[in-house]
């Protein structure tokens, strides 16, 4: 009897579980728990230090390759990185190889450049989307103007103050790629290793464990992983944003998953031995 009831409970319609998740995730958005992220992983710290140690006026290239489908994880990360670069008065260049990211880049710079009074063309430049990442990465090793002669609005870039003295990877201090795709692998293999340029990354939590080997060999100079990473970076630059509030909202949902795994496995054991 009990066994049958347990069976029935175990085979509960999964839409009840869906509803449970919706509630556990939505409630903290309306009423934050107020448990901020405190720990900082060494990989995130390495990215931070790589930017922090640069003298003002160094050129940093951001490759922002994420579209709205991974926006909640990667947009806070990219925002924190750009804020950090601007607050250190670094010169910023932005490239992208995902068509869907152009809108997010516009949004990011419209907001952050105003916070730091940075001028397009003077302190930063946004290059247009290009389809063939390998060709562009290879081209930038000798002459970036061969592909990027204009910025995304069609303004010629060669005489922009921000690009003064910048011609190839040799003139860039560090490259940070924020992506949910394999594009960071391309940066490591086709640029970092091939031309000896420091490459750091920001990725979704899904791909984060996969970059362990590159981090260990220092082929990757640091890695920000997922929303936790974004929250960590935000606390490093002391500007809490969407990452910090996001990790707060995830608290209950994470525990829900663990509870569900436990429940189902205990139920199964009970069913088997009753």
């Amino acid at each position: 009897m009990l066994k049958e009831q347990l069976q029935k409970f175990f085979k509960i319609d999964r839409r009840w579980i869906f509803l449970l998740l919706a509630v556990t995730l939505f409630v903290p958005i309306m009423k934050p728990l107020g448990l901020p992220n405190k720990t900082i992983s060494p990989a995130t710290k390495r990215v931070y230090e790589n930017l922090e140690k640069l003298p003002a006026g160094s050129f940093v290239l951001f490759s922002l390759d994420y579209d709205p489908s991974t926006r909640p994880e990667l947009h806070p990360m990219a925002t924190a990185l750009v804020r950090h670069a601007f607050s250190r008065n670094l010169k910023v260049g932005v490239v992208t190889y995902i068509a869907g990211s152009t809108g997010l880049i516009e949004e990011l710079f419209a907001k952050v450049s105003r916070e730091y009074n940075k001028v397009d063309g003077q302190d930063y430049v946004i290059f247009p989307y290009q389809p063939n990442i390998l060709a562009v990465l290879t081209q930038m090793s000798s002459d970036l103007y061969g592909i990027y002669s204009k910025d995304r609005n069609g303004t010629p870039v060669r005489d922009m103050p921000v690009l003064k003295g910048i011609k190839s990877y040799k003139d860039m201090s560090v490259i940070v790629c924020v992506t949910g795709t394999a594009i960071l692998d391309y940066w490591v293999a086709y640029v970092g290793d091939k031309y000896r340029v420091p490459v750091a990354g920001g990725v979704t939590a899904i791909s984060q464990p996969g970059y362990g080997p590159y981090l260990q060999t220092n082929q990757l100079k640091g890695l920000i992983g997922g929303m936790k990473g974004a929250a960590e970076y935000e606390s490093l630059i002391k500007q809490p944003g969407k990452g910090t509030s996001g990790i707060d909202a995830l608290n209950l949902a994470h525990l829900l998953v663990l509870a569900l795994i436990f429940t189902s496995n205990i139920l199964l054991i009970l069913i088997r031995y009753l």
């Binding site: 085979k11 003295g165 011609k167 040799k170 003139d171 791909s207 996969g210």
Partner: protein
């Protein structure tokens, strides 16, 4: 020609020494920095020069060097860099031992000329000099050295890479010819027994089998391997007179699979049981595909589900429905971040290369076999070199054999 060059050189020396004297006059008497040479930077496109001179062990603290380069015959000095007397030795140039003989006893500075002078014509001559400063005051200066940088034809530092490549190509062609003639040994993979078992169970229960080839195109290795495994599975199915269904995502994969299944039924001696609707097209959209296959699985309650090939997010959706409908599930994919879901929800999972190996094992197709052999050889090289490299480097570090450590580390470094 040589005469001309000599003449030019003489003129240069006269002019530059003149300017040195002029400079020296201003700053008081300065000694000459001995042993300063300029040479072409090796293994580059001809845009850099390399300056070398011996380290002065007696240099006082606060000593610094300044490097100047000029593209003119006289004057026009451009300051390149300034660094501490302890920095930039021959050991800091990141080149391997077979391509570079610099040591800690000399300074070696690479100067990128195109950064300073833009694009210059090939054969252009540059003059370089170094100045020694002690607490900001000029102490000594080198004689100017002239150099015309040249483009090189081979990156000797990438020799280890080239050797690895040549080795790979040789083994590959050997394996191809060998596989065609005699076949190559591949061990049996544990998951393959599970396949037989699953088909047997489906026959007993009289329920269908689902074979999901994933969302890869025909160009991905996993899909190719999957098609070969499908051949073997459908042969067994035909023998046992069971039912199989193969829902498709990619029309091209579907055409290939149709041929494969048909052939298997023929080989099993049951061409009469073959039906054209075994392979059917579902949808070319990821989520619609997953949803439709889910629907089929939960309606028809198959006895066994196979998920072999390239899977993305839909792995989760498929494996869960299969597990709750009570089917024996066997999965295989080379997409690492989907493997956890398959592993927890399926009875047996072929991990990464095991999928390729299963395809090669079952089909004995020379192309798959030879690729797998090259992969095996690569893994063997890695295992052996990690093992011995670890021992050698540890010994070297323990007993202070720096040379040994350097040789091993240089060998396994990408340049």
């Amino acid at each position: 020609m040589t005469k001309n060059k000599l003449f030019l050189f003489a003129v240069l020396v006269i002019f530059t020494s003149g300017s040195v004297c002029a400079a020296a006059k201003k700053a008081g008497p300065a000694a000459v920095l001995p042993g300063f040479t300029a040479e072409d930077m090796p293994y580059d496109a001809g845009e850099a020069v390399l300056l070398r001179w011996p380290v002065n062990p007696a240099a006082a603290a606060g000593t610094a060097y300044e490097i100047y380069v000029s593209s003119l015959e006289a004057g026009g000095w451009v300051k390149v860099t300034e660094f501490d007397a302890a920095a930039k030795t021959g050991a800091d140039i990141g080149l391997p031992f077979w391509a570079w003989n610099g040591t800690k006893d000399e300074h070696a500075v690479k100067v990128e000329l195109n950064n300073l002078f833009g694009n210059f014509p090939p054969g252009a001559v540059f003059t370089c000099k170094a100045a020694v400063l002690e607490k900001g005051a000029l102490k000594a200066e080198s004689l100017p050295a002239t150099i015309a940088p040249q483009g090189n034809w081979f990156r000797l530092d990438r020799l280890n890479n080239l050797i690895a490549l040549l080795g790979l190509i040789t083994v590959f062609f050997w394996a191809v010819s060998h596989a065609k003639r005699k076949g190559l040994f591949i061990r049996r993979i544990a998951g393959l027994d599970a396949i037989d078992e699953a088909i047997g169970r489906a026959t007993e229960m009289g329920k269908p089998i689902f074979y999901v080839p994933g969302i890869g195109s025909m160009s991905s290795i996993s899909t190719i391997a999957s098609a070969f495994i499908l051949g073997e599975v459908s042969k067994k199915v035909a023998q046992y007179d069971s039912h199989i269904k193969v829902p498709h995502y990619d029309p091209v994969v579907m055409t290939v699979c149709k041929e494969v299944v048909k052939q298997s039924y023929l080989e099993a001696g049951r061409p009469d049981s073959y039906r054209d609707d075994i392979n059917h097209f579902v949808s070319a959209d990821q989520f619609s595909y997953a949803a439709s296959v889910d629907g089929m699985i939960s309606r028809e309650k198959p006895a066994a589900c196979f998920y072999m090939g390239h899977f993305m997010a839909e792995s989760l959706l498929l494996a869960e429905v299969g597990a709750t409908s009570g089917a024996i599930q066997i999965a295989g994919t080379d997409v690492e971040h989907q493997l956890p879901f398959f592993f927890t929800a399926c009875d047996y999972t072929l991990i990464g290369e095991e999928l390729y190996a299963a395809g090669a094992y079952l089909s004995k197709e020379p192309m798959l076999l030879s690729a797998l052999k090259v992969q095996d050889l690569g893994k063997l090289v890695v295992m052996v070199s990690v093992f011995f490299g670890m021992i050698l480097v540890s010994l070297g570090a323990k007993f202070g054999w720096d040379g040994l450590v350097r040789v091993v580390m240089d060998l396994f470094k990408g340049y």
